[in-house]
């Protein structure tokens, strides 16, 4: 079990804080040559901070890095990681869709290419040899946009592997970091990708495989390391470890979070029903929300839960679906934001900076936009009245700002989000759709936002909250639906809505996933 050779990568005591919050705390990680090493953890566990330190995006506060036994100074200068035999494939793959396979393959390969003359014929021949060696059927002349998702992933990985091999300055096969390359791939394609990874390790390449999906980690890795709250919880030899142990390491023996939502009381009004909803990922989903209920939606990356708020509010087009609110039925394939607003539906999007607020406009302009032509009818704008309305909302939602006339960009994230909440809740919505409502917001402002949401339910509105934060659901959700590959795979309600129960459900072996 203990590999006597020098590790390909050894990290010791890596620490990084952001504004007083420790994202990574004295983390150690050892990866052996020819090993596939899984890196597991929830959102915010420190996985991506660790990877971003390796790629040179973040400078660590403390810590040492050794590659093949030689010490590498940190911070890693940006773009220099390949010189040390490290290459990264991120979830978005970093390919230019309009360019050909060959153009993408050689993009950025400055060391090897003659900048004054690219010999395209020789490069194409070299690419074919590279693809043959990796058993890939890729055509160097094909345009990346025409490739299937798995072919694109293969191209990104083979490019990274080629790059570290070209730079093998000290005679080692290098290390690839694959950061969530699989969530959007069908099962068969995932197996194909795993076969490719094994062929690479057979040549001595080491791979760090970052994933949310425990099944995939169990299937493909030799060892795995789990991070939680910035700490390394432990490293395991995958074959000798039970699934449950890994889940427990990821989730932690949870202390109970304060559940602040009161039990669901029967309220007057109608239950809102969603029937046969399909979108990009979501497939034939049914759900219902009672008046006064907070329904949480969650799942792993790519499971599709985060698509639901946008489909219900007409922000993105649904392939099919019906929304029934009392007597009114809405065809979701024809839903638009205007229809949604008139039907008393409010969407609070996750992307505050682009979709929530126009940052260079004033607080008044942002808050009162939905009122114009609605509650404030008539063509004339009364600036004083609008400023008064805005000031009232700022007080009600405890937005800390100087004046309604300042620009939204000057506010902190928490205050911006409270302003967005105020903008929508002033309309008195019956259905409120939230996507990651507390992303990037400090603890105090979070609490205030939860309180506003609970107040809203007490007044009889229905809330659907899509989030990847299980604690949040434990605190405020009456009921939680867990998504997997576009479908609902579990439902938890009442006292069963706990952080660990949600995590269990998310990481539970999915029926769709076969082990090879």
């Amino acid at each position: 079990m203990i590999n006597a050779t020098i590790p390909r990568l050894a990290i010791k005591g890596l620490t990084k804080s952001f504004g007083g919050v420790r994202a990574l705390s004295r983390a150690d990680l050892t990866v052996h040559p020819a090993e596939i090493h899984g890196l597991l953890g929830k959102n915010g566990s420190g996985k991506s901070t660790l990877i971003k330190i390796l790629s040179g995006y973040h400078a660590p506060d403390e810590g040492a890095l050794e590659i093949d036994g030689r010490s590498v100074p940190l911070p890693m200068p940006a773009g220099k990681s390949e010189m040390h035999g490290l290459a990264f494939v991120h979830q978005n793959l970093g390919l230019l869709a309009d360019a050909t396979v060959l153009e993408n393959l050689i993009a950025g390969d400055h060391e090897r290419l003659n900048p004054w003359r690219i010999n395209w014929r020789a490069e194409a021949a070299r690419a074919r040899a590279l693809f043959d060696e990796n058993h890939l059927s890729l055509d160097p002349g094909a345009v990346v946009a025409d490739l299937s998702p798995v072919k694109r992933a293969q191209l990104a990985i083979v490019r990274a592997a080629d790059r570290v091999r070209a730079h093998q300055s000290h005679g080692s096969a290098g290390l690839l970091v694959l950061d969530e390359p699989t969530p959007f791939l069908p099962m068969d394609d995932v197996s194909e990708l795993f076969a490719m990874m094994r062929r690479l390790t057979a040549r001595g390449v080491a791979i760090i495989f970052v994933s949310h999906d425990i099944d995939e980690v169990m299937e493909v890795t030799d060892r795995a390391t789990v991070l939680r709250d910035g700490h390394v919880i432990g490293s395991f030899v995958t074959a000798e470890t039970a699934r449950g142990q890994i889940v427990e390491a990821i989730v932690g023996r949870s202390m109970t979070t304060d559940r602040i939502v009161p039990a669901l009381a029967p309220a007057s009004g109608f239950t809102i029903r969603v029937e046969s909803l399909s979108g990009q990922t979501v497939r034939d989903v049914e759900m219902s929300v009672a008046p006064g209920e907070i329904l949480g939606l969650t799942g792993l990356i790519g499971s599709g839960y985060d698509e639901v708020p946008y489909l219900l509010s007409g922000a993105s087009p649904a392939r099919s679906g019906q929304l029934a609110m009392g007597d009114a039925r809405h065809d979701l394939t024809r839903m638009t934001p205007t229809i949604a607003i008139d039907a008393a539906i409010a969407l609070i999007p996750a992307d505050r900076q682009k979709a929530g607020l126009a940052l260079d406009l004033t607080l008044t302009e942002n808050v009162t936009l939905p009122l114009l032509g609605r509650r404030l009818s008539g063509a004339l704008i009364n600036h004083r009245l609008l400023a008064r309305e805005t000031a009232a909302i700022m007080t009600r939602f405890a937005v800390k700002a100087e004046a309604p006339g300042q620009t939204a960009s000057e506010l902190s994230g928490g205050n911006q989000q409270k302003l967005v909440l105020g903008k929508w809740l002033q309309l008195g919505p019956r259905l409120v759709l939230l996507d990651e409502p507390t992303q990037g917001i400090d603890v105090g402002a979070r609490r205030e936002i939860y309180e506003r949401i609970i107040e809203l339910c007490a007044a009889g509105a229905s809330v659907i909250c899509a989030t990847s934060e299980f604690e949040q659901l434990e605190m405020i959700a009456h009921r939680v639906l867990v998504f997997d590959r576009g479908r609902i795979k579990a439902e938890l309600s009442g006292s069963n809505v706990t952080k660990s129960a949600i995590a269990e459900a998310c990481y539970q072996e999915s029926g769709f996933h076969a082990t090879v």
């Binding site: 992307d351 979709a355 607020l357 126009a358 940052l359 260079d360 406009l361 302009e365 114009l372 960009s409």
Partner: protein, 320 residues
């Protein structure tokens, strides 16, 4: 008054102060030629067309689109007016609605191509403008056409109030309308969100496509108004009349966005910017500089204006 409020007011009226300083400097150097009412009334009257073209740009710019075709809309509608009036003898009451409709149609073409084919408006309007110039040269046989009905000149340049030709008051009137629309109507807010937060606007129920289309129609119609006034100012239509107005109008629109309502394209800022620029050019030519100063001045002003607006927004980011 707090310091930040003071600096904001300085920013709002900075260009006005610079304008007054420019007048003072040239006035001190050439009191008897530059600093005369007749010189200023000429400036105010003859540059009214430039003011109107600039105001036409403000609307699509607010909605986040460029209308490079506006100058050729002016040329084309000006030529159309001259042909209908001088060659066909059609009375003005019929010419005006036809010309406005043509301007609106050009806007519809610009808007439809931009929205339906999702091409950047910069490219679409560059192409449409060049195409219109070709049509203008074709229908006019590349000749200046004169002999336009004197009624048009009467209502554009001959009648004066306080010694200033009436065209100046049309420009001021249009500025007042655009100021009102941007400042006090829902449509003004919709334009603003379409330009500055298109996704926010869309999710809040703003029909951003329709708003963009209407902004092209508005700039097309304002281009047509400028075409009518241009013909009335000279009594003739010249197939290259608009070409020299496009860059000055952009320079003035961007320079105007640094004052009165800093950081936003706005009507009164645009008016002040036009007159600041033409005052500078007039003063330099009174001092004896030749025509090259125009290009130096307009080109320089456009670049300085965009640098200043970047500085304004950059400073806001730093105070976060």
């Amino acid at each position: 008054m707090r310091l930040s409020e003071l600096s904001y007011q300085a920013e709002r009226f900075g260009l006005v102060v610079v304008w007054i300083a420019v007048i003072a400097v040239f006035g001190a150097m050439r009191p008897d030629t530059f600093l005369t009412w007749s010189n200023f009334s000429t400036i105010f009257g003859s540059e009214a067309v430039l003011v109107i073209v600039t105001l036409g740009l403000v609307i699509p710019l607010t909605a986040g689109d460029f209308d490079l075709s506006i100058a050729q809309t002016l040329t084309f509608t000006s030529m159309l007016t001259a042909i209908m009036s001088a060659k066909m003898g059609i009375p003005l009451v019929f010419i005006i609605p036809v010309v406005l409709a043509v301007g609106a149609l050009i806007g519809v073409v610009n808007g439809t191509i931009t929205l339906y084919f999702r091409v950047h408006s910069l490219i679409v309007t560059l192409g449409v403008g060049t195409f219109l110039h070709g049509v203008t040269l074709w229908v006019s046989d590349s000749q200046t056409i004169g002999g336009v009905s004197s009624a048009l000149m009467q209502y554009v340049i001959i009648q004066r109030f306080f010694g200033i030709p009436i065209s100046f008051y049309y420009a001021i009137g249009l500025a007042a309308v655009i100021w009102y629309v941007l400042e006090f109507t829902s449509f003004g807010q919709q334009l603003l969100f379409t330009g500055r937060g298109r996704e926010v606007g869309r999710l809040t129920g703003v029909a951003v496509g329709r708003v963009r289309l209407l902004s092209f129609v508005a700039s097309g119609m304002i281009g047509a108004i400028a075409g009518l006034l241009y013909t009335g100012t000279t009594g003739s239509a010249n197939p290259s009349s608009g070409t020299m107005l496009l860059l000055p109008a952009f320079a003035a629109a961007f320079l105007g966005a640094t004052c009165i309502k800093p950081g936003r394209f706005n009507a009164w800022g645009s008016v002040i910017a036009v007159y600041f620029l033409v005052t500078g050019i007039n003063g330099l030519s009174v001092l004896g500089f030749r025509t090259f100063v125009q290009d130096l001045f307009y080109g320089g002003a456009l670049i300085v204006a965009v640098m200043v607006s970047q500085l304004i927004s950059g400073r806001k980011e730093r105070t976060l």
